[in-house]
Assembly symmetry: C2
Homo-oligomer: 435 residues x 2
Amino acid sequence: MTVELAREALHESVSDPASASMNFLNEVSARFPDAVSLAAGRPYEGFHTTDDLDRYLKTYLAHLEELGLSHEQRQRQLLQYGRTNGTIGALIARMLAVDEGIEVPEQAVMVTAGCQEAMVIALRGLCAGPDDVVLAVEPCYVGLTGAARLLGVEVVPVPESADGLDPETVLEVARAVRASGRRPRALYLVPSFANPSGASMPVPARRRLLDVAAEADLLILEDDPYGLFGLDDEPRPALKALDTRQRVIYLGSFAKSCFPGARVGFLVADQTVVDADGRRSLLAEELSTVKSLLTVNTSPVAQALIGGFLIEADYSLRAAGQQKIRFYRNNLRTLLAALERCFADHPRVRWNAPDGGFFAVVDVPLTADAELLEVSGRDYGVLWTPMSFFYSNGGGRRSIRLSCSALAPEQIEEGVRRLAALVRDRSEPEPAVAR
Amino acid sequence: MTVELAREALHESVSDPASASMNFLNEVSARFPDAVSLAAGRPYEGFHTTDDLDRYLKTYLAHLEELGLSHEQRQRQLLQYGRTNGTIGALIARMLAVDEGIEVPEQAVMVTAGCQEAMVIALRGLCAGPDDVVLAVEPCYVGLTGAARLLGVEVVPVPESADGLDPETVLEVARAVRASGRRPRALYLVPSFANPSGASMPVPARRRLLDVAAEADLLILEDDPYGLFGLDDEPRPALKALDTRQRVIYLGSFAKSCFPGARVGFLVADQTVVDADGRRSLLAEELSTVKSLLTVNTSPVAQALIGGFLIEADYSLRAAGQQKIRFYRNNLRTLLAALERCFADHPRVRWNAPDGGFFAVVDVPLTADAELLEVSGRDYGVLWTPMSFFYSNGGGRRSIRLSCSALAPEQIEEGVRRLAALVRDRSEPEPAVAR
């Protein structure tokens, strides 16, 4: 008899609903390959080629030689097992100082197998028992809620406003959680150009959120994959750049600023940990145990690719990434202009106007669910993401996320035209006004 | 006020005792850099250079071109986000058929960020609730016990004999676990040249273990990092090669057969999963959700390196790895000969004679703990691993693990001479024979 396993007997993370939604989205995309995908949040593919890879490696190896490493040491660093927290922490710390004004010791940086692993490590380290919960902005990036489900950590949603998270709401939710006997350990958010909402927090709200974190004894998990891609050059300091009290764990990604195929991300955790003997260390160093139990260390070859890229960029992704920044600005402006053109005369369609990033949200007068998405792909040739995928309890049912990162401008325009046809044909009748 | 976190308030996996032991070992190694390390189980460094990396990439890219992928598709495969379960599953499946006689569809292969991630994924997927436990050989590789601690999965030890795991002991333990109201979901072991013991299971015991797995309704997690490195060419079939009933999940590593710096491993899970609607899929496909929540996908560049290596090896690590195989054989023979030379006249020192792999175990007439290791490094210039690090409850206190993988033969001989001096000087007096 061969084995048959019942799906219900496997861990609930195998059936993670957000992942199931994303799988559905991928299936729909595969079935309608000619549809314009305003669903895909991946970066545009025109900025790097495989011909660059060998040069990044050589740049990094030359850097190691300049540092005085022997041939043997250089070989070992790329090919052997390596330091759990990675070898390019110093380069990342330098980039953070130059680009973000974040000043941290290199020992506070852990290099991870993408930002997703950084989330898992931070959640695992901080949430010690069943009463430890994590607060998270809602709507929320599905990677965070999925990571929490994997670890059995409860997520308490904090609803987002048009201006991102309201610090007072965070304080209320944290107090309510504590009053219920649970311990709110951390708050997850994307303060700049959030995925999925596109919302950004104003600077005063960022400062107030740091006060709230201290008042409520919360750590903040700041996810910042899109921070480079503002529509203008106005400074939007990362929470970590304002964080004088070490309340913020910063989660970083190179998927958008460099390319996804390296699968290199990082976390910055400069908090002090004190053990029973009074010995002090940095949280990033303590979390290295968790990292070692997940993936041992991040591929040193992949780290060398990113290291070479950072060196070539002279440690400024902002300065070296001007081509990318211009591209994404133009795409977001194209998306917002197309929405204006196609929906300005439709009083029941509303959308937000993000200051940057890859996403905007459109409220539509119809139920934007998986069934409608299928119709949209098949009959209208356009794909998008139901916002309901990013809510835990039935929110976002008449909203859709549009992404503009992976397309050329003319595709964005065509995609919005097709979306307008869908909305025109399928809008539900306006409800009679009750007296 | 800046944050101070109490270590006790962090998750217990941060303080994983085995990882703490390994950190101690690394610290001792760093403090005594001139000591000969019979502790390090890492592979020898002379087989690959960074000059090979670009060639592996080009070989893989040429392979994709032969498969008919356009320039754009090839770029996308290496640089963009990719399929969760990886892109080199077909190449790995072909290698497994050629080298191991393991015949599985490529969809049953998941590429992972090293074998450690494969363990985490398998444990997470299989252990659904607090009553689901995993049985594990004891002494046990610390990566498995650590992964279980990270996930809150209980590990029940199954003591190993000189010939590896005894299937009847496995059956007894599985029955006792079930009688206690818990569900034994899987059994972890390294059937060939185990880490840390060096023990291997005879072929009849392997067959019986598969029967036991069926009788006790267990899956087997077969970890096989050293299978290539037998002292002779006698076939030692992997459990997965004998597995006609799909009881075995095979965990693979390229760290020893290729090089560790790629951080590429894999799992093979060809079990059938049936969901409530009767839809059937392969376990590897179901586990892709868990993989996506840990690391999204394994670095496609790292996969391309291993892919190029497999293609250059014509899908046979055994045939192409003859230089490595000869090297490790010679090292293990050197270790065993040195033990014979140095300890043959010492009636209270015993050691095993593994048929292959990187490790041997020596029983010594003294307590081989962290304190003795420190003395050994400082005063005798030799490092080794206390076997107690691999036991959950106080076993292995007078045994040490010797590794011979990372050294040249003359270093192995010198290391064993130094160890003999330590044992000669520090042996505890023989206990008086009680009447």
